[in-house]
Amino acid sequence: MKDILLRIIIGGVAVSAFAMLGELLKPKSFAGLFGAAPSVSLATMVLTVMKEGKTYASIEARSMVLGAVAFIIYAAIISRLMIRRRMQVLSATTLGIGIWVACAFGLWYGFLR
């Protein structure tokens, strides 16, 4: 429980900090880079190394490569849906989460399982 609370606090601070940084910068396409900031991984990596060791963290990072590929597919698809198909932002980003999950687990099944 203590570990989860610690993760919530550290993760919340890291994600909020990168989001704020993104809001401070212009143009928007540049600020968008911070939407892909490694906030969650920075927040958890130190905790993971302290608790589980470096090998464990390294295995997590290997899976993160696939998660990041899924992230690119997710962002490319929702950006296109909003521009070309004129889909609502909330609908596109929510639908996109399903796309990310499908891609991430599909890649994991294909390459790491």
């Binding site: 919530i8 993760g11 809001e23 540049f30 939407g35 990596m45 990041a68 690119i72 996109g96």
Partner: protein, 168 residues
């Protein structure tokens, strides 16, 4: 296009938007930890690249741009959507940096000190993201100079719309 710091965006942010992002970030971080504990680091690692910020940020950008345009008497919904799409397109480029970050951590975690790995990986993320963004800007500028109608058609069709009052 030059990179600028503009505090106006931050001033317009409501307190509950900060709270929402904080809990969203915290929830994803906790989820990544729980997934790793339950299913192992191979599954937990996937969630380290979960798009935690994008849904909230894109919705916020759309709302702000829409309000700004509507205050000026223009139709704002499409402009808001286009602005959100541009922000998300930027995240595609940032995603390439995210892959680099993960590669550095994966390949160097066992050899280097943790702090050094994370610093080098963060630096690699920023440099790759910045370089790809710069390349894209240069490419788009050149394309616009040669064939202005193709790349800018969608955004210009949104921006150039007449004010709502005039169309009635």
């Amino acid at each position: 296009m030059k990179i600028k710091v503009d505090t106006a965006g931050l001033k317009g942010t409501k307190w509950y938007e900060f709270v929402f992002r904080f809990f969203m970030g915290g929830a994803i971080t906790a989820l990544a930890g729980l997934a790793a504990k339950r299913f192992g680091p191979e599954i937990g690692g996937l969630f380290l690249a979960f798009p935690a910020i994008i849904p909230a940020t894109a919705t916020l950008i759309k709302k702000r741009e829409q309000q700004k345009k509507e205050r000026a008497g223009y139709e704002g919904a499409e402009r808001g959507r286009a602005a959100a799409a541009v922000d998300v397109a930027g995240a595609v480029l940032g995603g390439l940096g995210l892959i680099t970050f993960a590669l550095v951590v994966w390949l160097r975690m066992r050899e280097w000190k943790t702090a050094t790995v994370l610093m080098m990986a963060s630096l690699a993320w920023f440099l790759v993201a910045l370089s790809v963004w710069q390349l894209r800007e240069t490419f788009c500028r050149r394309m616009r100079a040669h064939r202005p109608n193709i790349l800018t058609h969608t955004l210009r069709s949104v921006v150039d719309r007449k004010p709502v009052a005039n169309r009635r």
